[in-house]
């Protein structure tokens, strides 16, 4: 039987030491990984909270802004929305009555068109070619002087903020001489469009 010495493998197995070191290091690594994961999750949560905080501030600010300017928005909207023309035969969310859909009925015209009609313009509704939200009218007159026509157009442009003039032609009648001092009714032709509900 061999006696045990300090150098003999039975005295101290170095593998035990290596296994211990590896085990401890593994344990430390696992703990470090766990801590890192938790730190990352905390950081993500913190970031998410920051975003939520910002969103909350934004939503609250927006709500306060809306609350503060509610009256102003409603008033402005009501004023501008009134200028939007209703298409003929269109009534609020209802099917048109058999007798109501008469496109030639002047009562169904928007106020702007009525005003032109009352000033002596002939009005015809033109087919709409531009966009799906326009109603187009062709107007013609040979009885309005320049000094009456300009205020009339200005008044209608001011009363309807969505009135757009596509074409305006004014001609002096051939029977009137140039530099005539007499009031001259012009041959006027206008093509105008109004914003309408779809």
């Amino acid at each position: 039987m061999n006696a045990i010495t300090e150098a003999s493998p039975q005295a101290a197995n170095p593998r035990v030491a290596w296994i211990t070191i590896a085990g401890v290091l593994l344990l430390l690594a696992a703990e470090g990984l766990g801590l890192w994961h938790q730190a990352r999750s905390n950081s993500g949560l913190d970031q998410q909270n920051g975003q939520l905080r910002e969103a909350l501030v934004r939503i609250k600010a927006r709500t306060d802004e809306l609350r503060a300017s509610e009256a102003r928005i409603k008033a402005l909207y009501a004023r501008l929305n009134d200028a939007i023309a209703l298409r003929k035969g269109q009534s609020d969310d209802r099917l048109p009555l058999p007798r109501a859909a008469n496109p030639k009925d002047p009562k169904a015209d928007p106020p702007v068109i009525k005003a032109f009609r009352e000033s002596g313009c002939e009005v015809t509704r033109s087919p709409n070619e531009l966009g799906n939200l326009s109603v187009t009218y062709a107007l013609g007159s040979s009885g309005i002087e320049f000094h009456r026509l300009v205020p009339l157009i200005a008044q209608q442009e001011n009363s309807n903020t969505f009135l757009v003039i596509d074409n305006l032609t004014l001609e002096r009648p051939e029977s009137t001489a140039a530099f005539s001092k007499k009031p001259t009714a012009l041959n006027a032709r206008l093509v105008l469009r109004l914003l309408a509900n779809p």
Binding site: Q38, D46, G131, V150
Partner: protein, 218 residues
């Protein structure tokens, strides 16, 4: 050397004490024990922070839900505001034809008379609204034709053209100018063609700032 008076147990213990690898293993174990303190401290800290953050997250989520509910009451108002914003380009860029006519009236000198005037939209911009598309004139072509008084200054048309251009919206330009000679008993003629952009800069047309400001404030 053979150990004669030392027991085997002592030999093994000595080997554990003296061997470098066992010393290293011992050092690692001791260091790991110290690190456990730091780990435990960090773990407690992280756990506390995590639970505090999770609590804050719950409170914030609840607050957002409440705030969204409060905001939902203004959904209709928001739609109206969105409509107002979408109408903005129409209000700001629409060229007021009456102002153009008034500017022409102011610019025309005594020696000229207009026989034909035409203002025609030559380019359109699509304005997208919530319910569809509205076409808004982007550029207009203004044609002014007329007669020149007999014996009047030859540069009258040129001056009228310059004066008229100054009164038109900014970035307007003259496309053509034609002056016909006088004949016997017949006045000279002129024709101007200008291009007017509908760009919202109508100060030169004499539009009051209130009208513009109203549209800009939407």
């Amino acid at each position: 050397m053979r150990p004669l008076f030392i027991s085997q147990e002592n030999i093994i213990k000595r080997a554990y004490r003296r061997d470098r690898i066992f010393k290293l293993a011992g050092g690692v174990v001791i260091a790991a024990l110290f690190l456990q303190l730091a780990f435990t401290y960090r773990l407690i800290q992280q756990t506390l922070t995590g639970s505090s953050l999770a609590g804050e997250n719950r409170i914030l989520s609840y607050s957002i839900r409440t705030a969204n509910e409060a905001r939902a009451k203004y959904a209709e108002l928001e739609k109206k505001l969105a409509d107002l914003h979408s109408w903005g380009p129409i209000l700001t860029n629409r060229l007021p034809a009456s102002a153009v006519l008034a500017a022409i009236e102011q610019a025309i000198p005594d020696g000229l008379v207009i026989s034909r005037l035409s203002l025609k939209a030559v380019g359109q911009t699509a304005i997208k609204l919530s319910t569809g598309v509205f076409m808004l004139p982007r550029t207009y072509q203004l044609l002014v034709a007329g007669e020149r008084q007999q014996g009047s200054d030859a540069g009258l048309t040129e001056r009228f053209s310059r004066n008229l251009l100054a009164k038109m919206p900014s970035a307007s330009r003259q496309l053509s100018q034609h002056a016909g000679a006088e004949g016997t008993g017949r006045p000279g003629t002129f024709q101007l063609v200008l291009e007017l952009p509908a760009n919202g800069n109508y100060h030169s047309l004499g539009l009051s700032p209130v009208q513009l400001q109203q549209a800009e404030n939407l």
